[in-house]
């Protein structure tokens, strides 16, 4: 009443009572969320400046093109970089189509029964399995080969790039499938109905509408999965990628090592120079992962649309 009488109107449009309280809460929530974001950014920036300060000087063409060495200033990333590129290439080529295919089958083609539900549930569980377990699996099945009652179900590959790529593919498949399934679900059913009502087959509907509509979401999953595979160390050490490689990888059937393993290796050595190498290696690895993800982001933005 009092607020109203000031202007002569029988009501006020200023925030009072309930509205004022709700608005205060709303403004507060904004700051809480902002602080949460800033905390993450701060930690990241702190770590990055630490690494960059230590390793920046060491970055050079020589560092990228030298084989590993016992002398810190001679040692470089050449073999681990090549091994890593081969490995990531193989993982992406195997994992992405497999994940999208599985997700499309589960969401669009599989009958909706308890078995499909069970498979779906298990995939979600697999996403939480620690990478070292995948490493042990990779060692037992891909590296050593898998025999059952005298029948070779899987040939022995040895500690090769292919064995590593298969292991990492298994490791990132669950999260990529889950992300893809969720992305496919986001495509509105009315689009599916519209396509089918025009006499498109199920496959035509999937190919022309479901897949393009789901690609942005799928790419988000792929980005997360690539980031995980790119930095993976434990599983690869398990399958024997902790190796001294002084040659250039030219095929999937060679032994290999990767940048994260090389970095890990350097951090275990006592000399200060190797710590600097490790920091420089981290900068290179981060740049590479950002580069890979940029490609995924470009694909995602190309397909981005709103319904």
């Amino acid at each position: 009443m009092s607020a109203a009488s000031e202007t002569g109107t029988p009501f006020t449009l200023k925030a009072t009572g309930h509205v004022a309280r709700r608005q205060r809460l709303s403004r507060m929530s904004r700051w809480v969320l902002f602080s949460a974001t800033m905390l993450a950014v701060f930690v990241l920036v702190y770590l990055m400046q630490d690494v960059v300060r230590l390793g920046w000087e060491r970055l050079s063409w020589d560092f990228l093109t030298s084989y590993p060495s016992r002398r810190p200033l001679d040692a470089g990333l050449r073999s681990s970089l090549l091994g890593w590129l081969w490995l990531m290439g193989a993982v992406i080529v195997m994992a992405v189509p497999l994940a999208i295919g599985s997700a499309l089958f589960i969401e669009e083609f599989a009958p909706r029964n308890w078995f499909t539900e069970l498979v779906r549930l298990n995939i979600s569980n697999l996403a939480g399995v620690p990478s070292i377990i995948y490493g042990i699996l990779g060692l037992a099945v891909f590296v050593r080969g898998f025999d059952l009652w005298g029948i070779t179900l899987f040939p022995s590959l040895g500690p090769t790039i292919l064995a590593g790529a298969l292991t990492l593919t298994l490791m990132i498949l669950p999260m990529t499938i889950i992300a893809s399934v969720e992305a496919i679900r986001q495509v509105p059913p009315s689009i599916r109905d519209g396509s089918l009502a025009l006499g498109a087959t199920q496959w035509q509907t999937v190919w022309h509408h479901i897949l393009p509509g789901a690609i942005p979401g799928i790419m988000t999953g792929v980005i997360l999965a690539i980031a995980r595979a790119a930095g993976e160390t434990a599983a690869l050490i398990m399958i024997g990628a902790f190796a001294f490689i002084a040659f250039d990888n030219t095929s999937l059937m060679q032994s290999f090592t990767t940048v994260p393993i090389q970095i890990y290796n350097w951090t275990t050595l006592p000399q200060e120079g190797f710590r600097v190498n490790a920091a420089a290696g981290i900068i290179v690895l981060m740049t590479l992962v950002v580069g890979l993800n940029l490609i995924a982001v470009v694909i995602r933005e190309k397909f981005r649309r709103s319904w």
């Binding site: 689009i191 519209g194 006499g199 649309r305």
Partner: protein, 291 residues
């Protein structure tokens, strides 16, 4: 009181004929369902449908004439969309749906063992209650059906002709590359109609095609229907009684009441149904005295 309870199966018709108002409402009045004359496009026989345990249609039987507009009217939730979706087998996509009875398209059983739903949907097109253009260009929206069906002719010409017939061409002709989603709601619905007719179906099912349109666009669509009906069979669901009266040749009134879900109450030539309804429930509904 006691004389209204009658469990003898044959009695319903007789009692209704006697003119008592206490007849059980479960069955259609005799004479309330008229068989149209001329060529029949779709025959529905004793169709019942369940969504899981829930019944949505009960014993619907009707014959839909070829190259005529047939309107389905009735209160919300009485099963109009469900019936429409049976005709081009869109209900196949809902896993819980169970169907009893039969549907014939020019004498061929639509649910026969070797019938391919894709072929059915190519011949029996559909426009949905909510506009659902694809997130592609206007051109691609219209051309999609032709492309997936392996159309060999001149695509540009087909797109233009379809957009013209859907009364959308003038508004979009300079902008065919624009996304279908960038159109207004009413334009989107006309795009969906253009998309459906580009497929050159025999039958077009329209589920409230004008619910998102202004009166002018609505009239355009109605004109289009009158135009299309020279070549096509059209079945339209509408909540707009005037529209049903204006545009349709035959009208079917459906109803869900306490006893029966999704029943066909009355069906006949539109003029007769609106001027001299044979069932009291039809009369109540069209005069706005319902629910």
């Amino acid at each position: 009181m006691s004389n209204s309870v009658d469990l003898r199966p044959a009695s319903t018709g007789q009692r209704a004929a006697e003119g008592t108002l206490e007849r059980p409402m479960a069955q259609a009045q005799p004479g309330a369902i008229v068989e149209p004359e001329g060529e029949i496009a779709i025959t529905i026989e004793n169709l019942s449908l369940w969504y899981g345990p829930k019944q949505a249609l009960t014993n619907v039987s009707m014959k839909i004439p070829a190259r005529k507009v047939t309107a389905l009217i009735g209160p919300s939730g009485c099963g109009k969309s469900t019936l429409l979706r049976c005709i081009n087998r869109m209900n196949d996509l809902i896993p819980t749906v169970r169907i009893q009875g039969s549907l014939y398209y020019h004498g061929v059983n639509l649910y026969g063992p070797d019938i391919d739903p894709v072929e059915v949907r190519r011949r029996i097109g559909m426009v949905f209650q909510k506009p659902n253009p694809f997130p592609k260009s206007i051109y691609d929206n219209v051309a999609f059906g032709a492309r997936v069906n392996g159309f060999k002719g001149n695509l540009d010409q087909l797109v233009e002709q379809s957009l013209r017939r859907a009364a959308l061409w003038e508004e979009v002709k300079d902008n065919l590359k624009k996304s279908g989603l960038a159109l207004s709601g009413g334009q989107q619905q006309r795009l969906c109609i253009a998309r459906a007719i580009a497929n050159q179906p025999d039958v077009i099912l329209m589920d409230e095609p004008c619910s998102a349109l202004d009166p002018i666009a609505t009239l355009k669509i109605e004109d289009l229907m009158r135009e299309l009906v020279k070549d096509y069979t059209i079945i339209i669901v509408t909540h707009n009684m005037q529209q049903a009266a204006r545009v349709s040749d035959y009208t079917a009134f459906m109803l869900t009441d306490e006893q029966v879900t999704g029943q066909l109450v009355e069906y006949g030539p539109t003029e007769e149904l609106f001027t001299t309804p044979k069932d009291r429930r039809t009369e109540d509904y069209i005069s706005g005295r319902f629910g």
